[in-house]
Structures are given as structure tokens and as C-alpha cells.
């Protein structure tokens, strides 16, 4: 086997493509509906309505852009993360530098979150402001090899630009919940009357967002296995922290998709999870371990 093909998963790529295509179609539908509204308003000479449609058309890219630009910073703040200086944790910075160099990435900064649930996530809008945040519990519980595996997972999220992809994938779902939250009670009643029209689209958006998040987890797990050369290190880290962890303090931060284990850890059907079930992640890693066991030609 060629090493870069290790753990390469064609069915996963197909499912990811399907999810992305449907999400893209939802964007396109929203765009076309607004455009249609704009054209008909313009035909009727209703300037006010036309401007309203133009505003909403501009809102879509603007909201995505703002979320992309500020989402990471907001997440760090919401989680009360403190960025550490190099001299506070030289070993951690050295470890991150090694893994990053192996991935041919600039080394991200490290931040710490005082929390009793073991978790980590990565944020950043460009290569020079990326940060990996670790909870104190994670730093306490994991040995250096396991920590290296977690860093490999987070650096893979950054290398694959998962923040960007997940912003795109969660756009429709975020728009749905924002529209609902901003409505007053009377408007909500009106929305409910039209539920058969939008509810299926909203439900689909949320399910697709979660499925994208799960797919990216598998990809980041594989990245970690390749970077560290040792899938079993991530397996042992996940076995320690990937079961049902205490209710996370990261829940409010809205970045569960970039966490090493879900920040909403309550057991539920896989369809409703933003991370794959632990057993499945361990299974895949075991498969990668087996594949690398073959002699190389």
C-alpha cells in the first residue's frame, strides 16, 4: 500500500460529496427564491420590498464571512480560553511544533480552558492565527503520546480547513435557528402555520450539518494516525476521554464540530450526533493500524 492511501475511504468521500451537494442546493434554492422575490418586487415597482430582498441576498455571504472571521475568537472567549505563552508550557509547544512540522503546517498557539471535561478544539481563520485549546482535564488525564495524537487530530482539522467547511455546512441550519429566535410570538405562530413548508428543509439542514461534522471527524482521526504514525495513541486517548464525559462547558461555544470529542456528549441516535460513536471511531483506527501492518511495496 502507498502510505498516503492508508485509511482512504471512498464510500466516506461519496457520502461527503452527497451531503455537500444537498447543502449547496439549499443555498441555491434560498438564493433563487430571494432573486425571484426581487424580480417580482421590481416588476411591481415596489422599491421597499426590492431593497429588502437585496438586503437578504447580501446577508448570506456577509453572515458566512462574519461567522468565519469571528467564530473562532468568539468560541475561545465563550470557552474562557487563555492563550499560553511559550515559556509557560515549553514541552507542549515543542510537541505541537513537531506535529505541525510533520504536517507541513506552521505551529498553532496553545490555549487552556479550566474545565472538568476532557476536550480540545482548534480554531483559526488563516495559517498565522490558529490556536488549539485544551481543557485542563485533558492535559491532566492524557500522557504525552495521547496528547500528541489529540494534537494530530486538531492539526488535521486545521490543515483540512474544517472551520471553513463547517461554517458553510452549518449555514442553512444557523440561518433557520436565527430566523426563529429573532421572531416575536405572533410571527412564530405564523411560522408554525407554514411549518410543512420549511420544517423539512430545516430538519434536513441540521441533519446534514451533523453528518458533515461526523465525516470530518473520521478524516481528522485518520490524519492524526498518519501524523503520529501510531493509530493506537489516538485510540487510547479516545478510550480515556471519548466515552460519555461530564456535561461539557464547551457546549455554549458552538464549536463542537472542531472538538476532539463531542461537547454534547449525551447518548443519542447516530443520526443526531455531531461526532461518530466512539466504537466506530475506534474501529476505523484499528483498520488503519491493520493496514499499516502490511509490508510496504
Amino acid at each position: 500500500v502507498r502510505r498516503k492511501d492508508v485509511g482512504r475511504d471512498a464510500p466516506l468521500t461519496v457520502r461527503m460529496g452527497a451531503a455537500l451537494a444537498v447543502i449547496g442546493a439549499i443555498y441555491l434554492a434560498a438564493f433563487l427564491l430571494l432573486l425571484l422575490g426581487l424580480v417580482s418586487a421590481a416588476n411591481k415597482g415596489d422599491l421597499g420590498a426590492a431593497l429588502g430582498y437585496v438586503f437578504f441576498l447580501a446577508c448570506i455571504p456577509a453572515a458566512l464571512y462574519i461567522h468565519l472571521r469571528d467564530g473562532g475568537k468568539l468560541a475561545l472567549r465563550a470557552a474562557r480560553a487563555r492563550v499560553l505563552r511559550r515559556d509557560e508550557v515549553p514541552e507542549l509547544y515543542d510537541l505541537i511544533a513537531r506535529v505541525a512540522a510533520q504536517a507541513d503546517m506552521p505551529a498553532p498557539a496553545a490555549a487552556v480552558i479550566a474545565s472538568s471535561s476532557a476536550n480540545a478544539f482548534a480554531v483559526g481563520t488563516s495559517r498565522d492565527n490558529e490556536v488549539i485549546a485544551f481543557t485542563t482535564e485533558l492535559l491532566d488525564r492524557l500522557n504525552p503520546e495521547e496528547l500528541e495524537a489529540v494534537i494530530g487530530h486538531e492539526i488535521s482539522h486545521l490543515a483540512n480547513r474544517d472551520g471553513m467547511v463547517m461554517t458553510f455546512a452549518s449555514g442553512p441550519a444557523m440561518a433557520g435557528s436565527t430566523i426563529w429566535d429573532d421572531a416575536d410570538r405572533l410571527t412564530k405562530v405564523a411560522y408554525l402555520l407554514f411549518a410543512p413548508l420549511w420544517a423539512p428543509v430545516y430538519a434536513l439542514s441540521v441533519l446534514l450539518m451533523w453528518s458533515m461534522s461526523r465525516y470530518r471527524e473520521y478524516v481528522a482521526d485518520r490524519g492524526s494516525a498518519l501524523l503520529t504514525g501510531a493509530p493506537e495513541q489516538l485510540m487510547s486517548a479516545l478510550a480515556k476521554i471519548g466515552g460519555v464525559t461530564p456535561a461539557g462547558d464547551l457546549r455554549g461555544a458552538g464549536i463542537s464540530a472542531l472538538c476532539i470529542v463531542s461537547a454534547r456528549p449525551r447518548r443519542r441516535l447516530e443520526l443526531f450526533m455531531d461526532h461518530p460513536p466512539l466504537e466506530k471511531r475506534l474501529e476505523r483506527l484499528e483498520e488503519i493500524a491493520r493496514e499499516t501492518g502490511r509490508p510496504v511495496h
Binding site: 460529496g17 515543542d94 510533520q102 507541513d104 505551529a107 503520546e145
Partner: protein, 190 residues
């Protein structure tokens, strides 16, 4: 990385670029006479072995490789490992050109055995001014950078490193992005 690679998370583990290693043998004379860097006769290839299933096969491969390298070059090659789980193949040869050649041979053998993505850096030791000076070659980027640890507490002599950068730039492909100048403290060269 193209859009498709972003959408599908296909960023690959970058392979190794060995081509620029030989620039070091060409630059040797300048290093010694103009920059004042005298080779210590030691170099190392740093890489991450794959553990788990591949471990046994890899062990055999590397042992075989060391035997080949020793036979072909007359350099002495030993194995060490560090706290980060990286393997160091430490190469000794009093002739600098042979040292570079063996380093290249060891790297390309590792590459041919499928470890290309696992190669992190090659390190060449020099006797400089106050502190030992290392030139590190990053396989991913195909560039060199100077590394001057002061020996105190993971400190590095940034001023000296930058001075060396400006002196070496005309001789060697020096990594332009300073954030990529990976430090390799506690090199197990002894």
C-alpha cells in the same frame, strides 16, 4: 490544496524532498572558510517510525538499511530515540562530503521503503562560536535553517541564527518563513 481537497478533507501527508540536501556539500568550503562553521562529523536523520502493525516490518527494514549504509559508505550509523517518540539515525563520518552522501542515502532508502511522509528533518552539527551550531534540513520544505541552542533551558540564540541566515543565503536554500524554523532541542547525538 485545491477546493476539492478542502471540501473532501484530502490534505495529504507531504512527501519528502531530498534534492536540496547536496547543496550542503557544495557549500562546505564557504561554510568553513567564510562563515567559520567547522563540521563536527555528526549528522542525524530524524523521522517518526510507524508503530502498531508495521512496527516489526519497519524494525527489520531499518536494521537492513543501517547495514547497507554502513557497507556502502564507511560511515558509522547508530539508532537513538528521543522523548517525542522520534527515531534518530545518527551518522558519523569525519569526511563531510561522505557525511552528506550517507545522510542522503539513508533518507532516500527510508523514502523508498515508504517512510517519506514520516521524515521530519536532517540535522548537521558544526562547531561555531560560543555554542554548537546545527543546520537543519526540513524534508517537507526542501530548505535549511540554522539552529543555535544556548544550552540553557531550551533557549535559542536568535541573533546568531539570523546572522547565519544572512551569511548562508547565497550558498544554501534557506527557509524564508521564520515560523517554520523548527527547534530540535536535546539532540541525542552522543
Amino acid at each position: 490544496m485545491g477546493l476539492g481537497d478542502v471540501l473532501f478533507g484530502r490534505k495529504k501527508l507531504k512527501g519528502s524532498n531530498l534534492d536540496k540536501l547536496f547543496a550542503l556539500s557544495t557549500a562546505q568550503l564557504t561554510l568553513e572558510t567564510e562563515v567559520g562553521l567547522k563540521p563536527s562529523g555528526v549528522a542525524a536523520v530524524v523521522f517518526k517510525p510507524l508503530s502498531a502493525g508495521e512496527f516489526m516490518q519497519a524494525e527489520r527494514d531499518i536494521d537492513e538499511l543501517l547495514a547497507v549504509a554502513a557497507r556502502d559508505s564507511g560511515s558509522r550509523v547508530t539508532r537513538r530515540s528521543d522523548n517525542f517518540g522520534f527515531q534518530w539515525l545518527v551518522i558519523r563520518d569525519s569526511d563531510f562530503e561522505d557525511l552528506v552522501t550517507t545522510t542522503h542515502l539513508v533518507s532516500s532508502e527510508l523514502d523508498a521503503r515508504g517512510f517519506g511522509g514520516q521524515l521530519l528533518a536532517a540535522l548537521f552539527a558544526f562547531r561555531g562560536g560560543d555554542h554548537p551550531v546545527y543546520l537543519i534540513y526540513g524534508y517537507k520544505r526542501g530548505t535549511f535553517w540554522p539552529f543555535v541552542p544556548t544550552g540553557e533551558d531550551q533557549e535559542r540564540d536568535n541573533a546568531e541564527e539570523l546572522r547565519l541566515k544572512s551569511e548562508l543565503e547565497s550558498e544554501l536554500p534557506i527557509e524564508p518563513d521564520l515560523t517554520r524554523w523548527l527547534a530540535l532541542f536535546d539532540a541525542p547525538l552522543d
